[in-house]
Symmetry: C2
Subunit: 352 residues, 2 copies
Amino acid sequence: MEYRIIMIGCGTVGQGFLEILERKAEQLLDQYDFEPRIVAITDKLKGSVVAPEGLNISKILYRLKEGQRLNTYDGPKIKTEEFLDPLNLIEQVEAEILAELTYTNLKTGEPATSYIKKALRTGKHVVTSNKGPAALHYHELKELASVNHLQFRIEGTVMSGTPVFHLVENGLAGNDIREIKGILNGTTNFILTKMENDQMEYEEALKLAQELGYAEADPTADVEGFDAVAKAVILANVLMGGKIKPEEVKRQGISALKRKDILEAKEAGQRFKLIARIKKDGSRIEVSVSPEKIPISDPLAGVMGVQNALTFETDLMGEITIQGAGAGRIETGFSILSDILAISRTRSKTKN
Amino acid sequence: MEYRIIMIGCGTVGQGFLEILERKAEQLLDQYDFEPRIVAITDKLKGSVVAPEGLNISKILYRLKEGQRLNTYDGPKIKTEEFLDPLNLIEQVEAEILAELTYTNLKTGEPATSYIKKALRTGKHVVTSNKGPAALHYHELKELASVNHLQFRIEGTVMSGTPVFHLVENGLAGNDIREIKGILNGTTNFILTKMENDQMEYEEALKLAQELGYAEADPTADVEGFDAVAKAVILANVLMGGKIKPEEVKRQGISALKRKDILEAKEAGQRFKLIARIKKDGSRIEVSVSPEKIPISDPLAGVMGVQNALTFETDLMGEITIQGAGAGRIETGFSILSDILAISRTRSKTKN
């Protein structure tokens, strides 16, 4: 079945998604009867193009790799511009799906939230890896999707394409989740790993993380726990029905940890990890992000480097842990495909 | 939506399943619009009862706990017998789903395979945690289900209710799986854990496992790797399209391992695990079960005691590891519920 997709934003994640579509076109058609048609892309930095018949993905990727703007696209199209306004585009271009791939804004969730609302109001499913709308406006957007018989899917907001929401929605359906705890930030986990394994001080490990591209020039969002807080809030609200705001989360980063602390913990058979913890106690949900000394036997203790992991404590299945990539161009691009395939599974069944 | 379910076999798994239904009735109806109706149970040791209006699950569980036979059931019913023939029962009782819960036979897959075929030929979906039919006849049964527009689901055959097949089917759709490796037998993992942590010799650890009910009086199926082989074959055939037979698997158990070997590995930063490994190389699939020394940094190395875990090596997502229970009354009972809920998701979408 054919799916017309609008992409708002075409940065790292968007390009990862397009690369997967290029590489996997045949397999997706064969195995899932899935035929994506990218009908429009608009990106402030990279230009805009509208092509209801579908863009030639190889041509688009070629342009992006050469640093050319999308408005120089020379395949069949009806419009190119330096920058087409996303709200107009979403309203005017016919499509089944909006892939919202703009930047994360954890203060207001904008402009992504407005794009998502526009799509849901004009009959389009929405998939996104953007943490802003999911952390700040999940219930409102989910409700808007629901009344319009549409889906709002967010697999990539936590642990990139590692199937966290898919796992709970399908494989764990029927379980009550009592607690979720996890390592949700690869940068800080990399730093802690280096402090333990290579006996670095915090500053040295941070510098290495920056050199390797794991940490940004201003590392605050990672090392002070804001990124993990956003993900913990999403888990609390999506999987436990919480109504938590990021500012309500008890938060402590890793910047005050010393090599000495790490090595003392190790001596005692423990390991420091930046743990996001969401605990349900009756109708009360408590969320925290802080460095915790966990026993070396805990499945989360073995998660080293930039890997992420989550443990779900459930009533029927006890503890279930999933470990995988927490970031990455292809990995987050896959989350977009994964959510679109989930929509296609529902839709093709409806039409059978 | 109401689902009429026939249960063939009512041992540990069947009772775990019934306990979950009793405990979760309200939640299943509220959250999933799912209303199970057990219309017949037949078990050689426990008796048989047929009740098209649905059995009172609390009454059934009470009888089972008191060691009474099911044919003494005093709720509304149309028939009770010392033992009703499963094939006749499946043919004659109207139902949407067969829960096949008889004993595992890794030589022929019988009698379970015949029950499953009968159900698929008479219009019933099949869910089972029985390794026999899945290890020996998966493709034949899947094909029979498919031509009859029915599902044949086997979540509980590997890692009990820990969602292995759900994970791949939904969350990892679109990935090629290049290799699967895992710890699929809790008994042997418990023994290896005790040999390392408590410095026991193999015989001593085995005796403890037997005392705790993890190992049987004749422990061959576990300690010589046959149980793990069956699960590895299922993974190879279901998830990689293999046509592997159990006798084609390279198999080595743990009974020849000495405490000395375990401790020497530990000194070298490694850990012995009984690893099931399924590797795809072009169209060739190689399956092995053997003790391997894996680096302590491998996610599988941290899996201790009776826990199980699997790592999927994929083309898009790299390595994804899931860890959870590998056995248990409630955990395997949940696998049956989980597969039935999966069927109900498809079905309710079709009818929307």
